[in-house]
């Protein structure tokens, strides 16, 4: 830089009074001796030479010249292969903002097929997961697993991504001494490896856990929930902390075989019946009369909080009970499949039945019902209400896209309502996504 300044200064003073400086150009000998000829031309020549030299590029610093580049430790090879190129480019698009809410499903499928995230996408993935993960610790675990050895290698270089190694390299000390998020990571990893051991650890730690009980239950919710967890959850229904009770009721409702499920089935059984009249079968609905203490213990809320505003009290109760009733209650009681039950006209009750059954189907991971409900909605079923549209949005993200209808034939393309168009696009996206991950 100063060489350029020297030339500028000399040109401002004038070559009659100033000596023309001889700038050093790397790789060229310095010509300090007097050069015959016009000093002004010489100055311009040297300025031109220096300009070219500066535009030419940095020089390679040879080995042994000091301040040497420190080689990084090489990442260990990963036995698992990367996902297919199509799946990789879809992940790239998702990280760029296309259906980012399906990221967890992409990662889960990749982990299930023992495939790895392509290395080039790891930085964007880890950045995204770091930004959203306080609200979704499960995403951290999934990305660490799908990222494999290369993600662990990167995490050692960038302190922002330490969550990757924190999860995989934690020992028993983490559980005794770690902070809440580390303990959560440890428990979630244990749950993924050995659900029974995690349940045992929760049972042992329960009494002393205090506010961490909610965290315990959320770990149970993410993985491997089974009837073996029921005694723990049933006991938690009598906890003082309302949030713990809510979680326990929510998890028990996901297990169709639980005692809570049987209690709900008894409450629900009288609410619906099929009347075979002269004009064909009709679904007759009688909502529950009121919400007693036993129902509240099982997580039913009598107030409308969280429910749709347009429902009155009894309709809301029906919705709450339906959402927690094992779906096989209905197929058993009516002797019909989910599709056949949904085909029975239910008139004004259809929106409540749709949302209630949808919540039950999603909670119980019942693909038969989810498929039937999505097909019902796409064929013009009751998604007109705001709540119905939101329910369809969630169904489209959970139902098996290979089994559902992925188009609607009910009306001309221009008249398809937005929620249905959105559901179709999500189902198609997921269908392609899961296919690509199988390649």
């Amino acid at each position: 830089m100063s060489e350029w300044q020297d030339l500028v200064t000399a040109s401002l003073i004038g070559t009659e009074r100033a000596e023309v400086p001889a700038p050093a150009v790397p790789g060229l000998p310095v010509r300090a001796d007097a050069v015959p000829g016009d000093p002004a031309a010489l100055l311009l020549d040297r300025a031109a030479l220096l300009t070219v030299a500066r535009r030419g590029g940095t020089l390679i610093r040879p080995a042994g010249s000091g301040g040497e580049a420190q080689p990084l430790p090489a990442a260990e090879p990963d036995p698992a292969p990367a996902v297919s190129p199509a799946a990789g480019s879809r992940l790239d698009r998702m990280l760029g903002g296309e259906h980012p809410d399906l990221l967890a499903e992409w990662l889960t499928a990749a982990v299930a097929h023992s495939r790895r995230v392509p290395p080039r996408l790891l930085p964007a993935l880890l950045d995204r997961v770091r930004r959203v993960s306080p609200s979704d610790p499960e995403l951290r675990r999934l990305s660490a697993e799908a990222g494999g050895a290369r993600a662990r290698w990167l995490a050692r270089l960038n302190p922002d991504w330490t969550f990757v190694t924190a999860l995989t390299e934690s020992g028993d000390d983490t559980w005794r001494l770690g902070g809440k998020s580390q303990r959560r990571g440890y428990l979630a990893a244990l749950r993924a490896r050995d659900p029974a051991a995690a349940r045992e650890l929760i049972t042992q730690s329960w009494a002393a856990a205090g506010p961490e009980r909610v965290m315990f239950l959320s770990v149970l919710a993410n993985q491997g929930l089974s009837l073996a967890d029921e005694p723990l959850l049933e006991a938690a229904l009598d906890e003082r902390d309302a949030e713990v009770r809510g979680w326990a009721a929510h998890l028990l409702a996901r297990l169709p075989g639980s005692a809570l499920g049987q209690r709900m089935a008894r409450r629900a059984a009288g609410c619906l019946r099929i009347d075979r009249g002269v004009h064909g079968a009709r679904l007759i609905v009688t909502p529950p009369a009121d919400c007693d203490a036993a129902m509240r213990r099982d997580g039913v809320t009598s107030r409308r909080g969280g429910g749709p505003a347009e429902m009155d009290g009894r309709t809301h109760l029906l919705h709450e009970v339906l959402a927690r009733t094992p779906l096989r209650t209905w197929t058993g009681q009516f002797g019909r499949t989910a599709e056949q039950i949904l085909a029975v006209p239910s008139d004004a009750w259809a929106p409540v039945l749709f949302t209630g059954w949808s919540r039950a189907a999603m909670a119980q991971r019942d693909q038969d019902w989810m498929t039937a409900l999505v097909d019902w909605a796409l064929a013009g079923g009751p998604t007109g209400t705001l709540f119905g549209a939101e329910t369809l949005r969630q169904l489209a993200r959970r139902a098996d896209p290979a089994r559902c209808a992925r188009e609607t034939t009910a009306r001309p393309a221009a008249e398809i309502p937005l929620p249905i168009r959105d559901a179709i696009s999500v189902l198609r996206f997921r269908y392609d996504m899961l296919k690509e991950l199988e390649l």
Partner: protein
């Protein structure tokens, strides 16, 4: 060229002979390049500028071009 990206003392690429060339400061963290390399040699094309090398494209193990 076949290089290994390095981080210390500054972001740079290192050739097989141990010679090194800084990465352009404006190119940012270059994390995708590091992720691709994993500390192993990687083929890289870039623009050799007065302030260092601006990485443009690298090739992954399968030989596919990855824009950086």
């Amino acid at each position: 060229m076949e290089i290994i990206p390095v981080r210390a003392p500054a972001l740079a690429i290192r050739g097989a002979d141990g010679g090194s060339l800084p990465l352009h400061p404006g190119a940012g963290d270059c994390w995708p390049l590091f992720a691709l390399s994993g500390g192993h040699p990687v083929t890289l094309a870039g623009e050799w500028t007065p302030r260092g090398l601006w990485p443009l494209t690298a090739w992954d193990e399968a030989g596919r071009a990855v824009p950086l």
